[in-house]
């Protein structure tokens, strides 16, 4: 199982390198053969690769050779769509939103269709990741950045039964999006789940309710509590969630992801979430919107509360 994950990551990296070379190779050949502008060439190739990858993956008997090239074509089609639409203007002329909106919508929609049309698991995960990563950028550009967290957590909770691939894709999209948003000043990613604008409070409450619902359901499903007080637990988690999501949304979401992926048995995503949790604590130190004293109080209170939860859960658990 673990070697499978290593090989999947290895395949993704090599396919990404292959995709870059494939883009260079085919662009040079095509622009030499037919006299097209670079942008039209990119777009044409992007569409061609998109169709090719779907056709390849719809074959019933899939050789490794076919899946490898399908991965290269899938990644290439997304990169080509990005560069054909001048998305790089984003970093220089932030006023021209429509380019960003059209491109990210296109990527999100085409990859969602891709997800529905193919039945290969790694490609579904990749498609789901592209869909939600683009959707994240799109929502932030539209000024709805605060609701991305709510949307992602809701998708995670409600997609899991039949479409675990979506949950994998969403998780990777969340972690990468948060990582980039905290490290770069790119306009459409310049926020974590920071809730600075309009929907702050609604988003915080909705996310906390969703997390509370998940934890209460988990305890009920596994029949863990001796006294069956699931409503109270759900209420306490929601209240704690509101405080944590308000002050440290990035840290709170990674805590939720650790728990979520333990429940769904993915060691790799659990470890990835835990490493991100440590990284966000490190980043929290440098956030300038509150003083070190305030941050220290938030951290210490959270720590004491978690120890308190541990104490009470130990008392309330069956067989503990």
């Amino acid at each position: 199982m673990k070697s499978k994950i290593t090989i999947h990551i290895f395949t993704a990296i090599l396919s990404f390198i292959g995709a870059l070379l494939m883009i260079g190779f085919s662009t040079i050949l095509l622009s030499d053969m037919i006299n097209l502008s670079h942008k039209s060439t990119y777009l044409l190739l992007g569409i061609l690769y998109y169709i090719l990858s779907i056709v390849m993956l719809r074959e019933k008997s899939r050789e490794l050779f076919i899946t490898y090239f399908a991965t290269i074509f899938q990644i290439s089609s997304v990169i080509l769509l990005l560069i054909s639409s001048d998305l790089n203007i984003l970093f220089f002329h932030v006023n021209r939103y429509y380019h960003v909106i059209v491109t990210l919508s296109l990527i999100s929609i085409t990859q969602a269709i891709f997800y529905l049309l193919v039945d290969s698991r790694p490609h579904k995960i990749l498609a789901s990741f592209f869909t939600f990563f683009a959707l994240d950028g799109l929502m932030v550009t539209l000024g709805l950045g605060q609701l991305v967290g709510v949307l992602f957590v809701a998708v995670l909770l409600f997609s899991i039964k039949k479409h675990i691939e979506i949950a994998y894709g969403v998780t990777i999209a969340i972690l990468l999006s948060l990582f980039f948003s905290l490290n770069h000043d790119f306009y459409f990613l310049r926020r974590g789940f920071r809730f600075e604008y309009n929907f702050t409070y609604i988003a915080v409450v909705l996310m906390s309710v969703l997390v509370g619902y998940f934890i209460a359901n988990l305890l009920k499903e596994k029949n863990l509590l001796a006294n069956n007080r699931y409503t109270i637990i759900s209420f306490i988690v929601t209240v704690f969630g509101v405080v944590l999501f308000y002050f440290q949304p990035t840290i709170a979401i990674t805590m939720f992801l650790i728990l979520f992926w333990f429940y769904h048995k993915s060691l790799a995503l659990m470890i990835a979430s835990f490493l991100m949790f440590l990284f966000f604590i490190y980043k929290f130190y440098y956030m300038l919107d509150s003083t070190l004293l305030e941050k220290s109080l938030i951290m210490m209170t959270s720590g004491i509360l978690l120890f308190g939860f541990r104490y009470f859960l130990k008392k309330g658990f069956k067989n503990a």
Partner: protein, 290 residues
């Protein structure tokens, strides 16, 4: 061999998991809170109080480790925290008394002081910590002053390569070194520096240091033989193959002449090479599963 966490996942042991979850995360929150608080008050603290704080941490960690069982997580964590705080104490000393020491001296003396602890504790991760300290020491060393500034990356590659080879050979005989994840960290460091040195060799203008290529080939053969035939490790083989792929791609880009020529040659060579690498590793992965 399954880790404790894997066993918990497999058994769906939520009670133990919640116990760990709240304990580990709570401890991280609390420790970070205390650190933020100290950072907030740092300017107003007296120097003796600062020393007391760090020294109390060191003494406390080692006393705790003395009382705990050698195989417990508590023992391992307290040894690591104590060793880390030794460096903090040295840095604090340098800050308070303005010793004027170079940064490589801090890491080198830190590594020297931690060495007896590593020998006595017989715990693999403290050795990994020691190797990381040596990496920092050699990387921040003033190579220009020594007269070896052209060989900085090459030297890092050789040091890490030798450490990896010695570690791999010793892990057969020394039980505590035979730890999968610690070995992987050491292997990652060695292969990373090997790849970096080869990139230097390929792209550097004055490189006539072909001996690093010979060293890299020998290291790659050793890694392949050891982790393919003696003890199959898909992770180490994956990063080795990835590194070799990148070296070949860089060589093509560098020596193909024109830009478009190098891209076309790169695609024609690298895409099939990538495919065969994946196919080979997948095959090995299937053998490993069986």
């Amino acid at each position: 061999m399954q880790s404790r966490l894997e066993k918990l996942i497999e058994k769906e042991d939520f009670i133990t998991f919640f116990d760990y979850f709240f304990m580990v995360l709570g401890a991280i929150f609390l420790a970070s809170g205390v650190m933020f608080f100290i950072a907030y008050n740092w300017q107003v603290l007296g120097k003796f109080f600062k020393f007391f704080l760090v020294e109390a941490g060191i003494v406390g960690s080692f006393l705790l480790s003395y009382r705990l069982d050698e195989k417990s997580i508590g023992f391992k964590s307290s040894i690591l925290v104590g060793s880390f705080l030794i460096g903090v104490l040295m840095a604090l000393f340098g800050q308070v008394y303005q010793s004027g020491a170079e940064s490589y001296e801090l890491f080198l003396y830190w590594a020297v002081i931690v060495l007896p602890i590593a020998i006595l504790s017989r715990f693999s991760w403290i050795w990994v910590f020691e190797v990381v300290l040596l990496n920092f020491a050699f990387y921040t060393m003033d190579w220009y002053y020594i007269g070896l500034h052209r060989f900085e990356v090459e030297t890092m590659s050789i040091i890490n390569g030798i450490i990896f080879v010695v570690w791999s050979i010793l892990s057969d005989k020394v039980e505590f070194l035979n730890q999968k994840y610690a070995t992987r960290v050491i292997a990652t460091l060695a292969i990373f520096w090997m790849g970096f040195a080869m990139q230097e060799l390929i792209f550097s203008r004055y490189s006539a240091d072909g001996w690093i290529a010979i060293f890299s080939i020998l290291l790659a053969i050793f890694t392949f033989y050891r982790y393919r035939y003696k003890e199959l490790d898909i992770y180490i083989l994956s990063i080795l193959v990835l590194c070799l792929n990148l070296i070949v791609a860089s060589a093509i880009l560098r020596f193909s002449g024109s830009f478009s020529g190098s891209i076309i040659t790169g695609a024609i060579v690298m895409i099939p090479v990538g495919f065969f690498s994946i196919a080979w590793l997948k095959n090995l992965g299937e053998q490993d599963e069986k």
